[in-house]
């Protein structure tokens, strides 16, 4: 509005000049208009969130005109004794208030939410509280129907329409929230194209006998679908980038062909102390900026059968060093990383045996999967070394006093682990050099 009034004043001054001659009059009328448009567009370009491609082909995220490194966490504050169905959004204890304070002290500037909630007011409240109180922004995500029973029918037009409608509703509801940083579509949904998890097919795919061609057909269907949603999002919300959630780099050669309208890739990577050739490999396969949307380490030593916070801190520090090394304008890296949201803020005690409520009250020490990259405890029985309930940067303890009971209990105490302090120090003074052993 201020700009508009300046332009009107300039224009009216010109009008008062009277018979100043056609050319001069034209100039005097046009210059303010062009100036106005220039200033307006310059100001507009400073608003919102977008990806900037630099002359050296590096990428960076710009938020309201300034470069922004995503220093984030995945956030799903399920209390001890409850599972993923718990509605934490309406928890009267407002866990995000306590968490946001701790996050801000650590240096976290972003959370990633995998899915929004049914009640838009509650979602808005969380986004606003975190942003207004602590300056923490939010990546909002959608599972894209991945968990639907029996499988996500990405080859079915009705299924696609339903999912697309849900996503666009989310975008319409929250796009004007100042705390929103962007959208992340899916998580590891690409694995369903390979049939690894939630396998799906279609009549067209079934008619093809060659399994390699089947895989390619499913990938084409899935990535085209995500691309379609991304285009629709851009139409109604040009101010936020859209990310493609993807397990590892699997399938991105197809995304390169069919999903060019996403703004960045949000990869889920568990490779231990290093991301290896990830950044360069992505540049060769699908030249988009990358957000490490899920990475990290658990803090339970499955071999020695005891908590090992040093192990978790060692891996996280090393991973953040790699992220920083590959940010824009770092000569040593690929320049295509925009930051990361590490997995995860708090432990989740329900995850190892999600079907048995009795076990949600205790933190299970049995490992759920094996990953040799986390090598300190790989000598555990059957090499099962990954403990799903121990990924928190913050451990959960006995409820805080004076907390409002929720689900029969108060708000669990937050106990920062060593990784909390190590990453905090790294963000304050990000020195990128080789990591030593765990201390």
């Amino acid at each position: 509005m201020v700009l508009y009034s300046i332009w009107m004043r300039l224009s009216s001054k010109n009008k008062n000049r009277g018979k100043a001659g056609g050319r001069v009059s034209f100039v005097w009328r046009t210059v303010p208009l062009l100036l106005f448009i220039f200033i307006l567009s310059a100001c507009q370009s400073k608003q919102g969130v977008y990806i900037q491609k630099l002359k050296n082909q590096h990428y960076r995220l710009i938020v309201n005109g300034s470069p922004y490194i995503v220093k984030g966490v995945c956030y799903n504050p399920i209390p001890r004794g409850l599972n993923h169905e718990y509605d934490w959004w309406s928890d009267p204890n407002k866990p995000w208030i306590v968490d946001g304070k701790l996050m801000k002290e650590m240096g976290v500037n972003t959370i990633r939410l995998y899915q929004t909630h049914d009640n838009p007011e509650e979602v808005r409240q969380v986004i606003r509280d975190l942003y207004n109180l602590y300056g923490i922004r939010t990546f909002l995500g959608d599972w894209l129907g991945f968990w639907e029973y029996p499988c996500p029918f990405y080859g079915d037009k009705k299924f696609q329409d339903k999912v697309k409608r849900q996503v666009l509703e989310m975008v319409a509801l929250y796009k004007d929230e100042p705390g929103v940083l962007g959208w992340i579509l899916g998580n590891e949904n690409n694995y369903s194209c390979l049939g690894h998890v939630k396998p799906w097919s279609s009549e067209e795919v079934d008619q093809e006998l060659d399994p390699q061609k089947q895989k390619a057909m499913r990938a084409k269907i899935y990535y085209s679908f995500v691309n379609d949603i991304s285009k629709e999002i851009h139409k109604i919300d040009p101010k936020h980038p859209v990310g493609l959630g993807n397990g590892e780099l699997v399938g991105l050669e197809y995304a390169n062909e069919f999903c060019q309208d996403v703004d960045f890739v949000a990869c889920i990577i568990y490779r231990g102390k290093t991301f290896g050739n990830l950044f360069k490999s992505l540049k060769m396969t699908f030249d988009k900026p990358i957000l490490l949307a899920e990475f990290g380490a658990d803090c339970y030593d499955a071999y020695l059968k005891k908590e090992d916070q040093n192990m978790q801190a060692f891996f996280l520090e090393s991973q953040w060093k790699q992220i920083y090394k590959n940010l824009a304008n770092n000569k040593e890296g690929a320049g295509n990383c925009i930051g990361g949201t590490m997995f995860e803020w708090t432990d989740e005690w329900w995850k190892h045996t999600p079907d048995n409520p009795e076990t949600w009250k205790i933190q299970d020490t049995e490992s759920g999967w094996s990953n040799g990259s986390y090598y300190f405890d790989i000598r555990a029985q059957n090499n099962m070394n990954m403990n799903e309930e121990w990924f928190g940067i913050v451990a959960l303890g006995e409820p805080l006093e004076n907390a409002t009971p929720a689900g029969g209990q108060g708000l669990d105490k937050r106990i920062p682990r060593k990784a909390y302090y190590v990453v905090k120090e790294f963000w304050k003074n990000p020195v990128i050099k080789k990591s030593g052993g765990k201390k």
Binding site: Q212, G272, G276, S281, M284, G372, I378
Partner: protein
């Protein structure tokens, strides 16, 4: 006064000279592992027999044609697979049989190479690799360096393991050789002599060299140029049988690989597969990747016994551990034909600079309910 000055000056020159001499005495230029039977300078005992240890006979005072002195060490390897391992080897340990459970390592700081002389009884015998250090346990060696394969000649030849730049401050496994049945199907008799560490100040550390192409993973059973070992059995490993010397219509040469996957689900995983690793069983715990940067593709030939066998994935790289592969590349799923067909994994744009897992395949019960028998041949990386 003058006398005092002369004495003082003399002392001034003499003291450093004495100190240097003492230093030299403290820094020997060689450290002997074996010279002759009962030589007083010998260190370490060839006591760590591995794999098919029943296949080995050792004579550490072989008097026929030693390289120097009166004796050399003779090894006779029968390749009978007494312990059903398909490979064997001997470690020189200190004290005897110490696999790192007690202190016994020597500080060999200052040594820059290990040299030894070797010859085959006939020529053509193959030692898969020789090694210095690499013993783990409670008191692990500070270095692990290997060299090979070596195809022996029937005359004495000296071989060198470059140790420049390595931390040799604690070495319990002074020397080791190992080999396989595949490389010596008829067994092998060979001689080793004059094993010693040496200090050569001019020797430079060996940089990681880019391997020349083609780089074979499997050509034929007895090919010295084969790399990586099919040691990483995964999933239902009890369902797998590997035959690296199948003569069932090999695509090229005398033999091919025959893989038998029963699909019984022995370990309850419902899938199985094998990784070709270097060294054997290395899941990223040993820093030993090959630099295969020159490769632009991996090619191999495959066929099914019946046709229609489905392999979910063929792969190179992707081993993740303390030392992870620099990248990975895959093709699949693949439905095999009854006839030989060549398959290619495209490596353009991939970082092959550090590869421990040279080749892998995996299959599952769901797509092979009756199991699968299939053959592989001519697995190689190409420029």
């Amino acid at each position: 006064m003058k006398k005092l000055l002369v004495v003082a000056l003399a002392l001034n020159f003499l003291v450093p000279a004495i100190a240097v001499a003492e230093e030299k005495a403290a820094c020997p230029t060689e450290f002997v592992v074996y010279l002759d039977k009962n030589a007083k300078d010998n260190h370490y005992i060839p006591s760590g027999w591995m794999g098919d240890y029943g296949d080995i006979k050792m004579n550490d005072q072989a008097a026929d044609n030693p390289h120097s002195g009166k004796t050399s060490i003779q090894f006779m390897y029968s390749a009978k697979k007494s312990q059903n391992q398909g490979w064997t080897g001997v470690y020189w340990l200190n004290p005897a049989n110490n696999w790192g459970n007690k202190k016994g390592g020597y500080d060999l700081t200052g040594m820059t190479k290990l040299t030894f002389w070797a010859r085959g009884a006939k020529g053509g015998e193959v030692i898969q690799k020789v090694m210095v250090g690499g013993v783990n346990g409670t008191y692990p060696d500070t270095a692990s360096v290997e060299m090979g394969p070596i195809e022996l000649t029937d005359t004495w030849k000296q071989y060198t393991v470059n140790l420049a730049g390595k931390d040799l401050s604690y070495i319990n496994g002074g020397f080791n050789w190992s080999t396989t049945v595949d490389l010596n199907p008829e067994g092998a008799t060979f001689y080793i002599d004059d094993i010693k560490f040496e200090a050569d100040p001019d020797l430079k550390p060996e940089g990681k060299k880019q391997e020349a192409m083609p780089f074979y993973i499997y050509a034929d059973r007895t090919t010295v140029a084969n790399h990586f070992i099919p040691s990483g059995y995964m999933g239902d490993y009890g369902d797998l049988r590997y035959d690296g010397a199948s003569k069932d219509d090999a695509y090229l040469g005398d033999t091919c690989i025959k893989m038998t996957y029963s699909g019984k689900g022995s370990q309850g995983a419902r899938w199985a597969g094998i990784f070709w690793q270097y060294p054997a069983n290395n899941w990223g715990g040993v820093d030993s990747g090959f630099d295969l940067s020159k490769a632009t593709k991996l090619t191999f030939w495959a066929r099914g016994a019946k046709g229609g066998e489905r392999i979910e994935e063929f792969k190179i790289g992707g081993v993740m551990g303390e030392f992870s592969d620099s990248d990975s590349a895959t093709i699949g799923p693949v439905l095999l034909n009854k006839e030989w067909m060549q398959y290619t994994i495209d490596l353009k744009g991939k970082d092959m600079s550090y590869i421990i897992g040279g080749f892998a395949w995996s299959a599952n019960v769901d797509n092979n309910p009756d199991g699968a028998i299939f053959y592989l041949d001519e697995i190689k990386l190409e420029e």
